[in-house]
């Protein structure tokens, strides 16, 4: 969910051909990047990165269920592309905004100390580190980030009876 203007933010960032979201659980320097949030300038460097990622994905698809993210990170590691990192405080993934739950299947899991390291509100929240469409809807709704049906986007953390009603509605 986008909560603030990312274009204005992008225009104020130092010039990089490519900016990527961190795929780390922490807020420090990213060694692994996420292909779920990418800002790309139309340069030969950005094009070369995407084309090398396509080649890498074609290659690894032949032998495994690899992802575009794994392919991109393999290219970044091998070719030492210089990419910018979107600040996790403003562009958190699910690990940073909701916390890390080891089974990736509990939409109720929430770690307040992780959230405290994010800006309020962040520029966007990526609802990853959780498997399943229904789980993602539940988690976004519980945190006031599901406004497609016309609900107000800003809502406090809900109590147990509200959690139950959200589950009944989604499943």
């Amino acid at each position: 969910m986008v909560l603030r203007d990312f274009v204005d933010d992008f225009l104020m960032m130092p010039m990089h051909d490519v900016y990527l979201q961190s795929a780390e659980q922490h807020f420090g320097r990213a060694n692994s990047h996420c292909t779920g949030v990418m800002f790309l300038r139309p340069t030969l460097t950005a094009l070369a990165l995407i084309e090398a990622t396509i080649e890498e994905l074609v290659k690894c698809m032949a032998t495994s269920a690899c992802t575009d993210q794994e392919a991109l990170n393999a290219v970044l590691l091998a070719q030492e592309f210089n990419v910018g990192r979107l600040d996790p405080a403003d562009y958190p993934g699910g690990a940073q905004y909701f916390g890390v739950e080891p089974t990736y299947s509990d939409p109720l899991f929430y770690n307040e100390s992780a959230r405290a390291q994010c800006n309020s509100p962040p520029i966007l929240v990526h609802n990853n580190w959780l498997v399943g469409r229904a789980n993602k809807i539940v988690r976004f709704r519980l945190h006031g980030l599901w406004s497609i049906s016309g609900e107000k986007p800003e809502r406090p953390w809900r109590h147990t009876t509200e959690v139950s009603s959200v589950f009944r509605e989604v499943w």
């Binding site: 969910m1 203007d5 990418m38 994905l57 575009d68 986007p153």
Partner: protein, 79 residues
């Protein structure tokens, strides 16, 4: 801008005011949506093809695996 990857997505995209492109439309693309599964690979390959097309056209890309809150205004700069 939206690249419709199948007919159902095309219907949805055309019901919005977003520019819709159909170069990557396929009748046989997997319906899988779980990241990391083998049958999701063709879907993410199409995503990379879309990025490649847009970069070749000289467009700046903001790719988001998430949606825009209708209450947020995003400034688009055209030069």
């Amino acid at each position: 801008m939206a690249f419709a990857l199948d007919l159902e997505a095309l219907d949805v995209a055309q019901s919005t005011d977003v520019e819709v492109r159909t170069e990557l439309l396929s009748a046989s693309l997997s319906r899988e949506s779980n990241y990391g599964s083998a049958s999701f690979q063709p879907v993410v390959m199409q995503k990379l093809r879309a990025l490649q097309l847009l970069l070749r056209e000289g467009r700046t890309i903001f790719f988001l695996d998430t949606v825009l809150n209708v209450h947020v205004h995003v400034h688009v700069h055209v030069s």
